[in-house]
């Protein structure tokens, strides 16, 4: 069997993981908060894409145009109403708050949408490009990956070229100093959380056509996003991107050459190894957070 097949499909799956990881990392970088509602925000993105498709007949990938601003506003409001209140409190309060928000979201979804899994079937859901050498590339997965690349490029430009982006990075580097330089850090936090939410929801919408949609689906993705963030270095956007791809490829490789039963073991052994050798993560800042 070809070595390229797992490499390709792992990279493509990893791209979507990366998007989920980047959103979480951005929030951590700017606000120093671990957002444990991240997986549930992804789940909301999946349902939004699903209903846009079934009720409004909008292609899940096109629906991103509507979904991204909606999710941004939702995240912005969440920050203003809740997260904002605990930003200077101990980590355990922040964790409890985000876990609580996540539970409210998943259980509301359970009440509203029932526990029956929903399946989003587009005309291209199970089609693939066949390359020579018996390699096949899933069409929806490839589309998701390309969109992820575009979004990451746009995010990169936003963070490096715009004033708001630079202010976000300044807040991420040193909150107090940024405030002294006249940056409205409270606003930056809200923007960062809005962006994080939009990225989570986008990741959800991108994975929806190749996965199934269920109110409790966020939990497994939360664990994945968290692993990716820590692997890449908490707060590092580049690290999360690379971390996502690494996890995707390692999963695919270990299920090909070992057994799919073992892939989580391999992922977490690798994760531990990185933490032992480079505790700050692959791209993390040395010294860590105060």
């Amino acid at each position: 069997m070809s070595f390229l097949q797992p490499l390709l499909s792992g990279t493509l799956t990893g791209g979507v993981y990366a998007l989920a990881g980047i959103g979480m990392s951005l929030v951590f970088g700017v606000m120093n908060i671990s957002n444990f509602a991240h997986g549930d925000l992804m789940m909301l993105g999946m349902y939004l894409a699903y209903f846009a498709f079934t009720l409004l007949h909008i292609d899940p990938y096109l629906s991103l145009v509507l979904l991204i601003p909606t999710a941004f506003m939702f995240g912005f409001l969440l920050e203003k109403l809740f997260i904002n209140k605990v930003i200077n409190h101990p980590h355990q309060n922040q964790i409890l708050l985000t876990i609580g928000l996540g539970l409210i979201m998943s259980n509301t979804a359970l009440l509203a949408f029932t526990s029956d899994p929903k399946i989003l079937t587009t005309s291209y859901s199970s089609s693939a490009f066949n390359l020579p050498g018996g390699i096949s590339i899933s069409v929806p997965l490839l589309l998701s990956f390309l969109i992820t690349c575009v979004i990451i490029a746009m995010l990169y430009l936003f963070l490096s070229k715009t004033t708001t982006g630079m202010a976000l990075r300044a807040t991420s580097q040193n909150r107090e100093a940024a405030q002294l330089m006249g940056i409205n850090v409270a606003k930056m936090s809200a923007i960062a959380f809005g962006l994080g939410t939009a990225l989570a929801a986008t990741a959800g919408a991108l994975i929806a056509p190749t996965y199934y949609i269920h109110p409790l689906v966020g939990h497994s993705f939360l664990l994945k996003a968290f692993t990716i963030c820590v692997l890449g270095g908490l707060g590092s956007v580049v690290g999360a991107g690379v971390g996502g791809i690494i996890i995707g490829v390692v999963e695919a490789m270990s299920s090909t050459y070992l057994s799919s039963d073992w892939k989580d073991v391999v992922v977490f052994v690798l994760f531990l190894a990185v933490l032992l050798l480079r505790p700050q993560g692959l791209f993390g800042k040395k010294g860590g957070q105060s």
Binding site: Q5, P117, I119, S126, N130, S220, G248, T256, S260, D261
Partner: protein, 381 residues
Amino acid sequence: MKTKIASIVAAALLAFPMLVYSAPVKIGFINSITGKEAQIGENLTNGAAMAIEDLNAKGIQVELFKEDDGGDPKNALAAYEKLVTRDAVVGVVGPYTSGCANVVASRADQYQVPLLVPAAAKEEITMKGYKNVFRLNAPANVYSRVLMDAVKAYKPKTIAFVYAATDFGVSTVKTAQENAVKMGLKEVANEKYQQGQPDYRPSLSKVKAANPDLVFLVSYDADAILLMRQAKEIGLTPKAFLGAGAGYTTAQFAQQTEISNFVVSATQWTDDVNWAGAADFGKRYKTKFGKEPSYHAACAYEALRIMALTASKAKNPASLRAALKAGSWSGIMGPVKFADYNGFTNQNNHPMLVQQIQNGKYETVYPASFSKKKLVYPFKR
């Protein structure tokens, strides 16, 4: 003196309850109305309701005592004890899940009140020699056997297993492997997976590389759709996909015609089988409840019907047990007879059916004597 006479009268009344003419027959029904299994529990509830309706129409009055176990064996046992001690039922139908049924079965001989299990598959339930436990449906080992029997005639040579790493997945594949050895099938791939992953392509690619004639799958709900989607993507085309278990027998799966067409699965009952009244039951169920009945509904219907018919003549638990053991019935579940064979006691040797999705509909294709359609083999896209 007065109390003495009163107690003699009371004893007489207790001794001859059948003298009170046309008193309804008391039957207990334990089901998972709430909890994780509630969705399937609803099918059993509906099936039982239809049975009561039909029995009433025939002039058999049934007083049904419904109990909910919430899918918890502890509650099921409490329900059974309440039914036999407080409500004084002559027989009990249920519980639904294997876990609950197994626990209740272990106490049935102690209370001496017959238990008729309608749809629980765990083999152990009727393998312990309990005199008061009867089972209508076929036990778990029949699932894989009937699937392989259905394709035997086409002489497949190799088989691959793809299954969820759960109790159900592992135990089903274990019996399937035994059956495969008996049939002389060579196992070429064995992929156990963790549920709920977004990417099964690496496992499926391995199966594709082994090029098996048969792919035997055990998956729940949505994983079945995911696996079949990705199987189509990577171009896995064995001669047949055999789906044992939940995910391959849902209406949602059948609707995904692009990926589910020609997938073969095993079931206890279908509405197009040629057993008397099966089609009619399916039709009436759909009109009454607005959805397709699952096999559980048919099992509950038939179990309650048999229990009530027998109990209306037997009147007390001891003679009910004898009558269940001796009798035979025929209805929407085909011929029913509680027999002792292959280590089973009071087990109905229910012929399981093999169905194949053809144009978005489940069609019975095996055994030939019960089906109208033919199996499409080899599988094609």
